[in-house]
């Protein structure tokens, strides 16, 4: 494989800042080594070890439940009706049942990431050996911030990552076991376990991403190139291999085979979902079709000759859909076997022959290198014949088909977003395809296919939509910055102080899937709004692709307009779902590098630091999966708030603060040893907004932290007030809660805010010096004494 990472150039300020740390005596560098003296209290935390911290969070951010189902059908006593305060036959109530479901979702999500990490690690160890070094280059010393905190260890080799996975798998088993009937009984304890599952999710992702970055030589935090994105970037004249899912191994196998055989220019390799992003981290020549919302329409389009599926977020009917246009399917992991024969040990020639001659529907091949060979050879062989196939109806046929519609309206009712599919069909009868086109663009219709399933007259609605889209949208060509992996320590040295003091108003991470209420453009517009306002914007996965699919009036994508630096106005794509680990990772590094908090076994102190000082906010606008549930819950445990879109309420649980209860916002000022009045910052830990306008304002507010200096608070409030004015027309009433002294008031709004303050009889209050939810040092010391 070609080494595509650029030679590492040490930035000028790197040694300077390092020296600065050295001269201040206690240095971050001390912590890099695996010294046993400085380990904190929660090394390899068990299910209950961080319960006290969880309770602190849950006391302030009380779980809010929105049951998705009134009943429970988990065991044969059921179904049990849990309405009206009734308990199930096992004694569980509706709150605990919701929380159990959340735990289950977090376990599934976390297991998906960690199962993926386990596969990847074993494959890479087999390829490179246990002793293959984890070297993140000279600009990164803290290569695995989450692992350092949780495991208390610096992983030096691929083999070292196994310890962390072993620990994680044990925890996951206990957590899943708690979901059994007759185990945990209180919602609050289910939540603490869900938070633990979230932490395991974060750890699993870090293991997975670190392994692939190190062993496959993916970018190590340096600026990554722009790669092609969009259905229109795929050269349909060539044989096309499409990878769907999240595991880079089969895709890397294909890329390697093409390189070995010098076929790179003869075959198109492209992907959907995170597999696509990760293949481009391995080889920027690969193309990204787009996020998960493209899946059904791209498979239906028939452009792909071979569809290679690995794991997570793959349509479970992919085989049936691919067969509709005689594409071949290769399944590549034990997660998705699709009923196909296991040909892993079969001779490649024979598999190719069977697939080309249609003797088998597809194949299960659990060896990524063999997948590379078979997928390529099959694509080369069948592509010519497939050209003659008619894969989609033409416009005239669509017009004819549309006449069958009896206007029952059920396509609209069953659509998760009630998109006007019927209108698209009835307009097509008149030869007007614009309504189909409106659904097609920006994935306003995310091709879930529910309407088609419902249609009484069996109209192939997705094929119709795809054809119209294909016909009118010739230039769906965009770009996305390839995932760069972690944030470099050098960057943290530069931005740590401005973030903690508030000069950089916040770090906002747009992550997650495409269950958007109104298409992908909302995500890009939010990102644009915050980039223009000097925030650091981080992204990953399908969110990163949605951002790339938007062009401004001048025709530029946000990746073209903004640099990939982790700095104000930077738009950083960390990579795939597993790369999300670098987002809490960056916050942890701020606590360590900037504030010199020791990492090892020190979860609570780090999370407390992040909660009170690091103005970061996650946004999962289209979160749909159990993985997204686990990611968000894990992020929450680190003290980082998350905003989800309206569909996020279907996760059944949010963590909401109550601004009308001032006692909930009291904080311990550890420096002065006093409990002082705080403010609702951050106000919520997991919040669902109804539309983009509301979300934008909430995100700005959720970046406020007790630790902001007056200057920082002014900057943050200025954005909050601006945005509130823009989307709500007025200043927000609650601004009074965030003004501690007059110096906190943004100059532009001074007069108006002073008036509001006067109306509520506002009194100034002290700025905390070391805001915290942790106990005062003396209390801690006496606790220790007691336990002795």
């Amino acid at each position: 494989m070609e080494n595509k990472s650029k030679a590492k150039e040490l930035k000028d300020d790197f040694w300077k800042s390092k020296k600065l740390l050295v001269t201040t005596g206690k240095i971050a560098d001390d912590i890099q080594e695996d010294s046993s003296e400085s380990k904190g209290p929660t090394l390899k935390p068990s299910v209950t070890d961080l319960r006290e911290w969880d309770m602190k969070l849950l006391e302030r951010y009380t779980p809010f439940y929105a049951p998705f189902c009134d009943m429970c059908c988990l065991c044969t006593y059921g179904k049990c009706d849990l309405t009206g305060g009734k308990k199930g036959a096992c004694g569980i109530d509706i709150e605990a049942q919701q929380a159990r479901f959340v735990l289950l979702a977090c376990c599934i999500g976390s297991a998906a990431h960690s199962g993926h990490a386990r596969h990847l690690l074993e494959y890479l160890i087999e390829k490179k050996g246990e002793n293959f070094p984890i070297d993140m280059g000279t600009n990164i010393d803290i290569e695995a911030p989450i692992m350092r905190v949780v495991m208390g260890k610096k992983p030096k080799t691929l083999g070292d990552l196994k310890d962390a996975l072993d620990y994680l798998e044990e925890q996951m088993m206990h957590l899943l076991s708690a979901c059994h009937t007759g185990q945990e009984g209180k919602s609050i304890d289910f939540e603490s376990k869900a938070l633990h599952a979230g932490l395991m999710d974060n750890l699993g992702k870090e293991i997975g991403d670190l392994a692939q970055i190190a062993a496959l030589n993916m970018p190590k935090g340096e600026d990554a190139p722009l790669v092609e994105l969009g259905m229109g970037t795929i050269d349909k004249e060539k044989p096309v291999v499409l990878c769907i899912g999240h595991n880079v191994a089969p895709g890397a196998g294909i890329v390697d085979y093409l390189e070995d055989q010098e076929l790179e220019d003869d075959v198109e390799v492209c992907g959907i979902c995170c597999a696509a992003l990760d293949i481009t981290r391995y080889n920027p020549g690969a193309k990204v079709v787009g996020p998960i919302s493209k899946q059904l329409k791209f498979v239906r389009s028939g452009v792909a000759d071979v569809v290679v599926v690995d794991e997570q977020c793959v349509r479970t009917d992919v085989l049936e859909e691919a067969r509709k246009n005689q594409a071949c399917v290769i399944a590549t992991t034990d997660k998705i076997c699709l009923g196909l024969p296991d040909l892993t040990d079969e001779d490649a020639d024979k598999i190719v022959k069977q697939l080309v001659n249609d003797e088998i529907e597809g194949a299960l091949i659990l060896d990524p290198d063999k997948v590379g060979e078979v997928a390529t050879r099959v694509a080369l062989k069948i592509s010519k014949d497939r050209e003659a196939l008619k894969k989609l109806p033409d416009l005239q046929e669509i017009q004819e088909m549309a006449k069958e519609c009896n206007e029952c309206g059920w396509c609209v009712r069953v659509c998760p977003n009630n998109q006007p599919m019927m209108e698209a069909v009835t307009s097509a009868v008149e030869g007007d395809f614009s309504k189909f086109q409106e659904l097609y663009e920006n994935d306003v219709c995310y091709t879930c296919g529910r309407c088609e399933q419902e249609c009484e007259v069996n109209l192939p609605l997705i094929s119709m939509l795809t054809k119209v889209g294909e016909h009118y949208t010739k230039d769906e060509k965009f770009n996305v910055r390839a995932g760069r992996g972690p944030v470099q320590d050098v960057e943290i040295r530069k931005v740590g102080a401005p973030i903690v003091l508030g000069d950089i108003p916040g770090v906002i991470a747009f992550v997650g899937c495409t269950n958007y209420p109104e298409g992908g453009e909302d995500v890009a517009k939010m990102a644009e709004e915050f980039l223009e306002r000097n925030y650091i914007v981080v992204t990953s996965g399908c969110g990163a692709m949605s951002i790339g699919e938007y062009r401004d009036q001048e025709g530029n994508t946000l990746y073209e307009r903004y640099s990939g630096d982790f700095d104000a106005k930077g738009l950083v794509n960390v990579g795939s779902c597993v790369s999300n680990a670098h987002i809490p990772g960056a916050c942890i590094k701020i606590a360590n590098i900037f504030a010199k908090k020791p990492l090892e076994g020190n979860f609570e102190e780090i999370a407390d630091y992040i909660l009170n000082r690091v103005g970061a906010c996650g946004v999962a606008w289209g979160a749909y999966s159990q993985k997204a549930a686990a990611i968000a819950t894990g992020i929450n445990r680190w003290g980082i708030p998350v905003v989800v879109g309206p569909h996020g309420t279907k996760y059944r649980r949010l963590f909401l603060g109550r601004t009308d209860q001032p006692e909930k916002w009291k904080i311990n000022d550890l420096r002065v040893g006093e409990v002082i009045d705080g403010e609702p910052a951050p106000e919520h830990l997991l919040y669902a907004a109804e539309n983009r306008e509301e979300a934008t304002v909430v995100i700005a507010k959720l970046c406020i932290r007790p630790n902001d200096t007056s200057k920082g608070r002014q900057i943050k409030l200025n954005h909050y007030l601006d945005l509130h004015k823009k989307y709500f027309g007025t200043l927000p009433d609650d601004v009074v809660k965030f003004v501690r002294t007059e110096k906190d008031i943004p100059i532009t709004y001074k007069k108006e805010v002073l008036k509001l303050l006067e109306e509520v009889g506002w009194e100034p209050r002290a700025l905390p010096q070391e805001p915290s939810l942790m106990k005062f040092r003396e209390e801690k010391a006496s606790d220790k004494g007691d336990s002795k």
Partner: protein, 171 residues
């Protein structure tokens, strides 16, 4: 008839407890009986002909309005006063019997919903169905909401506006 009381998005059906189908007359009786009603207005009402009827209904019975999403802006521009909350925030407050309500006089005993995104509204109504026995919910959208205590049926615009007009009419 069934058509009208199958939840608008049919899969929000949560279990055995379903909303009561109401006419404008029954809705009116519920409002008249309530001591401290509240109206929650969502962003689907922005630029909608129903907006003016919503304001008339609120005026007729002196019902305070909470706006969700970004509905505040469009209501304010139409001269309709409201207090802005996130949908999940207001539901979270409503489920607490100790909460003092938007006017500080005590929690509300009847909450009318209109214009909230359907499936999200359905989730909020589910919260209140399970955790707020101290209040009743009534939905005035053109969609049947099975998670409410009482709901208008699924209707086309024309019929729906007539329902709202009836409710807004000063006798």
């Amino acid at each position: 008839m069934n058509e009208r009381v199958t939840p608008w998005q049919p899969t929000v059906i949560a279990g055995p407890k379903q909303a009561l189908l109401v006419t404008p007359e029954t809705a009116e009786m519920m409002i008249v009986k309530a001591k401290r009603p509240l109206m929650v207005v969502g962003p689907l009402i922005n630029d909608n002909p129903a907006q003016v009827l919503v304001s008339k209904i609120a005026e007729k019975w002196n019902i305070p309005i909470v706006s969700t999403g970004d509905a505040f802006k469009s209501l304010t521009e139409a001269g309709v006063p409201s207090k802005s909350y996130g949908l999940v925030e207001i539901v979270n407050l409503l489920k607490d019997p100790e909460w003092k309500g938007v006017s500080g006089e005590g929690n509300h005993d009847l909450v009318l919903f209109i214009g909230v995104i359907y499936y999200m509204g359905s989730q909020g109504l589910s919260t209140l169905k399970h955790f707020a026995p101290h209040l009743k919910t009534l939905t005035l959208c053109k969609f049947f909401h099975s998670n409410a205590d009482a709901s208008f049926p699924n209707m086309k615009d024309e019929e729906w506006l007539k329902y709202l007009e009836k409710l807004a009419k000063i006798d």
